[in-house]
Structures are given as structure tokens and as C-alpha cells.
Symmetry: C3
């Protein structure tokens, strides 16, 4: 019997992502079932269709991808999907709404590379850490042993993120307000790694601020749309020397992100029990070497 | 020119069934065009797309599957689809909304097996015969020559089903009310075959009732979600001895159902003039041997 | 890495066209991503998914088809799609909402054939030129050097079309009112080519009118649903002699239309910078010989 790989794309946007679909077929998914406008309410029947059609021995040939521009909505799908599994009736899942997991993992891999292969004890700050990519990047830095500070324009929101990461990891994270250039400069003093994870077309970090940071070694920007998030670097930077630091722009990080995304799709079909969220995606990225 | 098989999935639910899609590709459909939220109003243009794209000699390489959780809505699609055909301009169609046809056929095949290969003159009862699976199972039993009784909690609804089957087959069917254990026990006395086609998680037939039936030979339950529809058997039973009878649970019937479903998809591409509704699906199941 | 051809079907109807999908896979598109209910508002993200997933060298393996029954809505998509392209970031696009471009091109190719291979200076009239197919057919006739008249029941609407074609081509086009048989006969006197591009099931041109036209050589009807648009010919006519003229019916033109459609899909994957609108589709049709 034919047991070609089936990837079920569950997307919370009305039109399911073409980006995720192209990556899926380029990674080798043979059949792609695309669903837009998916809500937790219609997840159960869709997942049952994955669980009850192929025998237990063939479940690894079916997998689920969860995407869409709204990361919180995607997280609700992920929860609904995994809750539907029971006993051996499960298939592997990749969660990458808005590319948040693959982007955060690629950013942290750049930070790791720029730090000589270890982030243990390294002071690292994430700007716009309240967004889904920034939040994940900060959490992943913590997992790798960095001493992490998370910034937002509002201190209360930065504090919320710090507390959420503390709950998830048991490690302390320092919140800071990035509401003025002076506050920013002061909070970033001493940092060796800075990741800017802000919205498209918004400058978070002026050149005058980062060029004066004495200990800065790695500068990463995840915004590809001018003006960039970090002033004075290029979107295509990939380890380029910028002042005292090495810099990565959004396109420089993007190549790694794509590799991780494709590889994660392939890994879905290696077994039927994987759930790839941020940590697992980072691990997979590290294994790419 | 490329003439790979195209299956057009018309589903009345907003999200087209993943179950039906996996079965379709596992049966070898090379291209699957999936449509959710289909209504009779948009059937015509979709069917025209099947009829007017490949030459008359190639129409057997295109086919239509009609599904969705609402069997009555699916029947309306089936009518709209077949009305769109004219002259030689037709493609083969499989109707299996909510799995009703393949499930009913698999249940009746189990009844046939448990009855030594013939249902001619065999007294058989269907519980919850007012649902689409029960209704079809009863009709198929009649087609095979069984003396059929149809039960519902309400006698008037059982009577409606009996009359509908009479109109379809010209054969008499006995309605009965299954509103109390005593009524049930009384109506089932003398039956050799009982099929429980009720909703998930609802017990229709207490063990105390069926264990006392003197002539019972075959006991079939189509509900896989505990508590089962027939108390005292297992969902995985597949001809297991239970008291005086041999029993089939939902999973025991399910394997046959899947085989019929896949084979029916394959048969769609053998010619361009088949319409597989319950009777044709049963016939096809019998040919699987 | 796998770089199989991906065609993104953007359709303005709620259910994306099955017709266009079958043609796409028959033309060899390996992956088809189908989107219904597409509006200009959701085009950008879908197109980004085409542009940012494969390297610049592989962009020709991804392409876009724009369809749907509403030609004006499709034109708005086409504009939104091409506006999203920038620099080398573009993929090839075929616009064929309601089959308007391939049908108009096939009709004009028939006119060309019936006129001995050239339309230079040939008087040609289009009936129902206010519809999308008629409008395009008239514009294409102008491009090939014909002296074109465009008819509508209302002179003001015919005048609008004539002016639009003048703006697009710089050439004069004569509007006429086709509100009575006498007006029609008078306007068509002297025409060598007449194309009827009206709605399904509506007769535009009575036999008594066209049989008296002294210079008529080519008669083309694009309505396949009886009563035909041109009285006294057959839908399957393909260069048949009818009175003084050679006639093409909708089915006679349809074979050419299908060939053009399939070939255009294939051409999408030859480079990443083509936009196939009416003129390009005609050119491609001419190259089929």
C-alpha cells in the first residue's frame, strides 16, 4: 500500500501560508493538506483523520504543521492538537506560527557562533522581547546558560516576559525599559550579545547607542524591512564586522532559519512522537552543525 | 499528455475531512482537489471543471468523492452532482458522508460472515436505525434477503425509516420502539442478528438484554467510544465469542470499512459512469472476499 | 534539494476553479496550491511566500495563476500581485479569469486562420464587446491590424469599450449599437469577420442578418449553450462552410483554447519574469502554429 508522507498544514489565517507550503514540499512532503482559518474547535476531527487512517506502525508517515501569522492563536491550536493525542495514537508536530520558532532558533545560533560556541554565563539582551520571536529568543538564550535581560518600551511588559521565562526555566531574567536612548544605553552596558526582535520597519537600536557599548561582541537584527531594527548594519550581514561587534541582519539569519525549517519538516517523518516547539527546533538547528 | 488521476473531494463541512483525504492518497489518487463548505449551489461549476477539461476518452481519470459529517447535506450534493451530468459527460462518484456507506457495508459484511454466508430469511434488527449508518445497514440487510426490524427510541421515527426502506426496496420492514429495556428485550426476541448503530458513547443494548436472547448469533456494535453501544463486548472484537453469539466491535468492523473505502476510490478510476452509494459499496465489499 | 514546480492558484470565487486546477496538473504543474476567495488585501503575504522561499536562481520553479469567474475582480488581483514584485523578486503570472484571455486568443486565432493568415486592414466586428472576452478579442484584433468595430445593445457602453481600446492601443475603434436587427445588419455590412462574445444561451446574431452580409468570410461564436449566439451554425463548427463564410462554434474554438491554456502554464516555468495577459497569451497561441 502507498504510504507517502502526508503533512497537514493547520493555519489560523483565512488563507493558509504559501511560505510554509513551499518549504514543506521543498523539504520533501509528498502530500500537503492545507487548512486555513483553523480554530481549536475544528482541530479534533482533523487530528482524528491523521490518527485513524494509517496503522499504528505507519503513523510516522503523517505529521502536522501549525502556522499562521498570529502566534498566540497558533499556540492554542498546538494545545488542542496535542490534547487530542492519546496512548500510541499521536503524530509528530512542528509549531512555527509566523516563523517564530525557526527565527528565534536561527538568531540564537548566530549568537552562539558569534560568542565562540558557548553562551554559558554570557550577558545577553533581547529588545522587543514581548513579541513572540523575542520571547522565544530570550528563553532559548536562558536555556543555553546566558545571563539574559529582556527589554520593552514598557517596564511592566518586560517584567511579564521575564516572569514567564522564569516560570518556564527556573532561571532569573532581568527586565528593563527601553523607552529612551539613555535608558537603553544604560541597560545595554555590559551586554555581549544584543538581539533586536522588533516589528518590521522600526529602528530599536540607534548606532550611537550600540557603538559605545564596551563589551558588545554580537549584534543581531531580525527586521528585514528598512529602516532596520539596528541602525548601521545591513540586512544581509552574516557575521560582518561592525565596530567592535560581529553583526547579523535578518537576511543573514534567514538562510539558517530556512535550513532549520526544512530539516524540521523532514524530522517530523522520522518518528510519530515529536513535538517541535522552540527548544526542540533549536536543538535540531544545533545538530545541523 | 499527463493524465494522472484527479479526485475532487467535495465536503459539506467548513474544513474538508483529513480522514477522507488520507484514504484517497493511500488508495493511489495522484491529485486531490479538496473543497470544504460545498453546497448544492456551487456544485455545478465544480463538476463542469471535471467534465470539460479532459477528453471523453479520459474522463475515467477524474472522479468525485462526496463527504462531510452531515449525511443529509452530502445527499443533497450527490443529487446536485449527478444532475449535472449529461450524455457521456459524467465521472464516477463515491458517496461516503460521515463514512456512512462504507461503515454500513462493513457491518453488513460482518453480519453475513457471522451468519454463515447468507442472510436470506434471517431475522435481523438494527438499533438506532434512524441515523444514516443504521438506516443504510437496515436497507442493505433487506437487499440481502434478511427479515429486518428497525428500532428507535420513538416508534414514529422507527416507522418513518421502515416506510422509507419499503419505498426503496418494496420489502416490508418492522418498526419497533426501543424506549425501555423490556420493550427492547421483547422486540429483539427471535432476532439472529443485531446491529447497534448509535451515537458515540451511548449504550443501546445492556448485556442483561442480549445475553438472554435465545436465537442471537451475531452482535455488531459501531460505536468505538466508551461506553460502547453494546455492553459486554470489546471494540476490538472481530468475530469473538460472546455468550451464544459472535461479536464485532467498531474497531473490528473498521478494518473492513477501510479496505472497502480504499478499494472504492480505486474503482472510481476504472470507468467514468459509476455512482457508489450504499448498495454499490456493499457489492464492492463483497467482491473483496 | 527538491525544486519541483509549484503553481499558486489565486481565485476570487469562494471555491477555486476545478477547471483551472485540472488544466494545471495536466500541463505538468507538480504542486498546486489552491486559494479561493482571494482579495487584493491578502495577495501580498501569499506572493511573499512565493518570492522568499526559493533562492533567486530557483524563482522560475514557482508561478502564479489568477482565475475566478469575475474578470474585474481578477484584474484587481493581477495588479496587486505585480505590485508586490520588486527588483529580481518576481515570479511568472498567468491571468485567465473566466478563461477570458485564452478564449479571446483562441477566437482571434480562428479569425486569423479564416482570413488567410493576416488580419491587416481586415474589417472585423465584435458583438457583446462590453464583456471581458469580447473586449479582449476586440483589442487583440486591433493589435493584429484589423479595422475593428465593437457592438453592444447600448451605444454608450460600446463607446466606452472603443475608447478603452483606443487608450490601450492608440488605434481608432468604431462603436455601434446592436439594439435592433436592422441596426445590427447596417453596422455589420462590410465586415469580413464577426465574433459573437455574448452570454450563454443568448442569440446575438440571427441567421437572416449574417446570411445577407456580402463580405462576410469568418463567423465565430463563443457561446456553447443553446440557443447559440449565432443562429444557423453548430457549436462544434471548426472552419465549417456556412453560407459565404467559414464558421467556428464555441467547441470548435475550445480545443485551441485548451492547448493555449496548457502551454501557457508550461511557459510560466520557463522564466520568472513573464506576465501573461491577453496579448502575451495570443502571442503564445500563435507560436503553437
Amino acid at each position: 500500500m502507498d504510504r507517502r508522507s502526508v503533512l497537514i498544514q493547520l493555519d489560523t489565517d483565512p488563507q493558509p501560508s504559501v511560505f510554509d507550503a513551499v518549504v514543506a514540499v521543498d523539504a520533501g512532503a509528498e502530500h500537503l493538506f492545507r487548512h486555513g482559518g483553523v480554530t481549536p474547535a475544528n482541530v479534533r476531527d482533523l487530528v482524528y483523520g491523521a490518527l485513524f487512517t494509517r496503522g499504528p506502525a505507519d503513523l510516522s508517515s503523517t505529521a502536522i504543521f501549525i502556522g499562521g501569522s498570529n502566534v498566540a492563536a497558533g499556540e492554542a491550536l498546538l494545545e488542542a492538537v496535542t490534547k487530542t493525542f492519546f496512548g500510541p495514537f499521536r503524530v509528530s508536530v512542528l509549531f512555527d506560527a509566523n516563523g517564530a520558532n525557526t527565527t528565534a532558533a536561527a538568531a540564537v545560533l548566530a549568537a552562539l557562533q558569534g560568542s565562540g560556541g558557548s553562551l554559558q554565563g554570557v550577558p545577553a539582551a533581547v529588545l522587543a522581547a514581548t513579541g513572540p520571536v523575542g520571547h522565544r529568543a530570550a528563553r532559548l538564550l536562558v536555556r543555553l546558560g546566558a545571563k539574559v535581560a529582556v527589554g520593552s518600551r514598557r517596564l511592566d511588559r518586560a517584567t511579564e516576559v521575564a516572569e514567564a521565562i522564569h516560570r518556564a526555566t527556573g532561571r532569573e531574567v532581568t527586565p528593563f525599559a527601553a523607552d529612551t536612548p539613555d535608558a537603553l544605553a544604560s541597560s545595554l552596558r555590559g551586554q555581549a550579545v544584543v538581539i533586536a526582535a522588533g516589528a518590521a520597519g522600526v529602528t530599536l537600536l540607534p548606532a550611537s547607542v550600540w557603538q559605545d557599548l564596551p563589551d558588545l561582541k554580537v549584534l543581531i537584527d531580525l527586521n528585514a524591512v528598512p529602516p532596520l531594527g539596528v541602525e548601521g548594519i545591513e540586512a544581509s550581514d552574516k557575521g560582518a564586522e561592525r565596530g567592535r561587534a560581529r553583526a547579523w541582519g535578518a537576511l543573514g539569519v534567514g538562510g539558517t532559519k530556512m535550513k532549520i525549517h526544512r530539516r524540521a519538516i523532514q524530522e517530523l517523518f522520522a518518528s510519530n512522537d515529536k513535538v517541535f516547539d522552540a527548544e526542540q527546533v533549536l536543538e535540531l538547528g544545533r545538530s545541523l552543525g
